[in-house]
Amino acid sequence: MGVILEVKNLTKKFSGLTAVNDFSFEVRRGEFTGLIGPNGAGKTTLFNLISGHEKPSSGTIRFDGRDITGMKPHQIVNLGIARTFQLVRSFRFMTLLDNIAVSCLSPRGKKVAKEYGIDEYASSILAAVGLVDKARIPPIILPHGDLRKLQIGKALGTNPQLLLLDEPFSGLSHEEQKGITDLIIKLHDDGVTVFMTGHVLRELMHLVPRVVAMHQGKYITEGPPQEVANNKIVLEAYLGKGSEQLA
C-alpha cells in the first residue's frame, strides 16, 4: 500500500502565533487514521492547509505523489481529497438533494455521476448516508446529527479517495454518534482512505487502528491509540487542559 498523503515540515504562522509547527506525517492508501490533540492544538488549521483553505507558510503537502501545496480548494477536491467542517456548513435554502448535487456537479463528481444522471446519483448518496426520505427538504430544519450526515454526503458526491473528517462527532448525542460511526466504518470498508480529527480521545479509541498526536502545532507521536494515550507528552497535554477529556 503506497503513501496517499505525505505532509512534510508543514508550518503555518498567523501574526505572532505558530498554529502548525514543522509538522510531518504520512497516511497510507486505505488506512484509517485519527488525529488527536487538545482544543487549540492546530488540528483544524492542519486540515485547512491540506484542503487548501489556508496557505502554508512553508513545507509541502503531497497527494498521491503529486505536490498540492498552495493549490485552491476546488482543485484539491478534484484530485480526490474531500473534507467536512467542524462547524457544519450547508446550502441552507436548497433541498438536501441539491446540496449533494452540487458536489456531483464538480468535475470529479460529474465523471461518475453523469453515467447515472446527477439527480439519481445524488439520491443514491443520500440513501447511503441515510437521508433519502428527506431529499426534498432544506437543511435548516434538520437535527444536528442529520447535518453531520449531510456533510459526509456532500463530501462523497465528489467521489473522494481520501476523506478528511474534522470532528465528525462534535455536538452529537450518543445515538447519533453511533450512526455516524457506522457510516464512517462502511465508507472505509468500501475503500475510502479516512483521516479524522477528534479532541476527545475516547471517541477515536475503538474506531481507528492508528492515531497521530498533535500538541501546540507540533507532531508528538503516532501509533496504536492505546500506546499513544499512555505517551507522557500526550498525557501532559491533555491533563494540562483538564483530565476529564481522557479516556
Binding site: V77, R89, A101
Partner: protein, 343 residues
C-alpha cells in the same frame, strides 16, 4: 464541440418534454395568461403614450430581473447594475446615431459590450463579498458617471472623431426601434419574454444549482469541488448581458442616453423593482416593474416625491415583506383557483 451538437440535436425533443412538464404547473398557466394578456394590450389601445408606458415597464422588467438573478440566485448584491445599462445604452445609441447600424445589430453589440463589462467588473468583484461588493460596484458606477461627464474627454473625442460621446449631453436624437409604437411594443415584448424565459431556465438548470450553492455558502461550494471564481464571473456576464439588453432598449425608447444613466439612481430602480416583486423569483420583477412604472407615471410631475415614496416602499418591503408580492399573490390566486374548481 460534439457535445454541443448533440445538445442542439436533442433540443427539440428535450424542449417538448420540458415544455409539457412546465405547462402542467400552476405557475406556468399564470405566466401564459399574463403573456397573452400583455400581447392583447395593443388591441385595446394604440395610444402611443399608453403603449410607451408598457414598453418602459417591460424594459425595466428585464433590467430588474438581471439584478435579481445576480443578487437573488448568486448572492452578489451589486449597486452598480447601472454600469451595464449605461454601457450598452451608450454603445447602442452611438452605433445607431453615428454609424447608422440597424437597431437590432446595435442592440446585440451593445449587449455584448455589457457582457465584457460584466467580465471586467466580475474579476475585481471576486475578491469582494457582501457589503464590500455593494460599495465596490457602487464605486464602479460612479467612476463611469464621472468619466462620461468629463468635459475634457468630450472635447478630445469630438476633435478626434467629430461625434459626441462624452459630456453632459450624451448621445441624443437616436431613432427608436420603429416609428410605429405597436411594432416597438411587440419587439420589446418578445425580447422581454425570451429574456425572462432564459433567466428562469438558467436558475433551474445544473448551473443554477451551483449558483444557489455559492449564494448560500461560498466556502462550502469550493469544498464541494466547484471553481466558484469561474461561476461568479459567468454570473456577472449573464447579468451583464440582460442588463445590457435592457440598456439598449432603454436608449432607443428614450431616444438617447446621457451620463445620468450611470448614477446610483438606476441601480436603485433595479433593486426596488426586484424587491417589490420578491427576491430570487425572476418573474417577480414584472410585478415590481408594473407598479414602479405606473406609479412613477402617476407621480410624474413630482419626480422627487415619487422617489421619496419609492424609498419608503423599499424600506418597508425589505424590512417587513422580504418575499415581495409575487409569491403571496400566486398563492392567493391558486387558493381561489382551487375554490373555483371545487377542490
Amino acid at each position: 464541440m460534439r457535445i454541443i451538437i448533440k445538445k442542439i440535436a436533442e433540443f427539440p425533443s428535450n424542449f417538448q418534454s420540458y415544455f409539457r412538464d412546465w405547462i402542467s404547473t400552476f405557475r406556468a398557466k399564470v405566466t401564459v395568461i399574463c403573456l397573452i394578456g400583455l400581447s392583447l394590450v395593443p388591441l385595446l389601445t394604440q395610444n402611443p403614450y399608453f403603449l410607451g408606458i408598457f414598453t418602459t415597464f417591460m424594459i425595466f422588467t428585464i433590467f430588474a430581473a438581471s439584478w435579481d438573478f445576480l443578487a437573488g440566485f448568486v448572492g452578489q448584491v451589486s449597486f452598480g447594475q447601472a454600469v451595464f445599462l449605461g454601457v450598452s445604452g451608450y454603445v447602442t445609441a452611438y452605433l445607431i446615431r453615428y454609424l447608422s447600424f440597424p437597431w437590432w445589430l446595435s442592440l446585440v453589440i451593445g449587449s455584448i459590450i455589457a457582457v465584457i463589462f460584466g467580465l471586467i467588473i466580475g474579476i475585481p468583484a471576486l475578491r469582494l463579498k457582501g457589503p464590500y461588493l455593494a460599495l465596490g460596484t457602487l464605486a464602479m458606477s460612479l467612476i463611469m458617471y464621472q468619466v462620461f461627464l468629463m468635459g475634457s474627454l468630450a472635447t478630445m473625442w469630438e476633435n478626434a472623431f467629430g461625434t459626441n460621446l462624452f459630456g453632459a449631453e450624451g448621445v441624443s436624437q437616436i431613432t427608436p426601434i420603429s416609428s410605429d409604437t405597436v411594432v416597438e411594443y411587440f419587439a420589446t415584448f418578445l425580447i422581454m419574454s425570451v429574456s425572462l424565459l432564459i433567466l428562469t431556465h438558467i436558475t433551474k438548470s445544473n448551473v443554477g444549482t451551483i449558483f444557489k450553492a455559492i449564494r448560500d455558502d461560498e466556502t462550502g461550494t469550493s469544498a464541494s469541488g466547484i471553481n466558484t471564481t469561474k461561476y461568479k464571473i459567468l454570473a456577472f456576464m449573464i447579468s451583464g448581458l440582460f442588463a445590457g439588453v435592457a440598456g439598449g432598449l432603454f436608449a432607443m425608447r428614450f431616444r438617447g442616453v446621457n451620463p445620468g444613466v450611470f448614477q446610483p439612481l438606476y441601480s436603485f430602480y433595479a433593486i426596488i423593482i426586484a424587491a417589490m416583486g420578491g427576491l430570487a423569483t425572476i418573474s417577480g420583477s414584472a410585478i415590481g416593474a408594473l407598479i414602479f412604472v405606473f406609479l412613477g407615471e402617476i407621480l410624474r410631475d413630482t419626480q422627487d416625491l415619487s422617489l421619496l415614496i419609492f424609498s419608503i416602499i423599499l424600506i418597508l418591503f425589505i424590512r417587513f415583506a422580504e418575499h415581495g408580492l409575487l409569491k403571496p399573490t400566486l398563492e392567493r390566486i391558486q387558493e381561489l383557483w382551487d375554490i373555483v374548481l371545487g377542490r
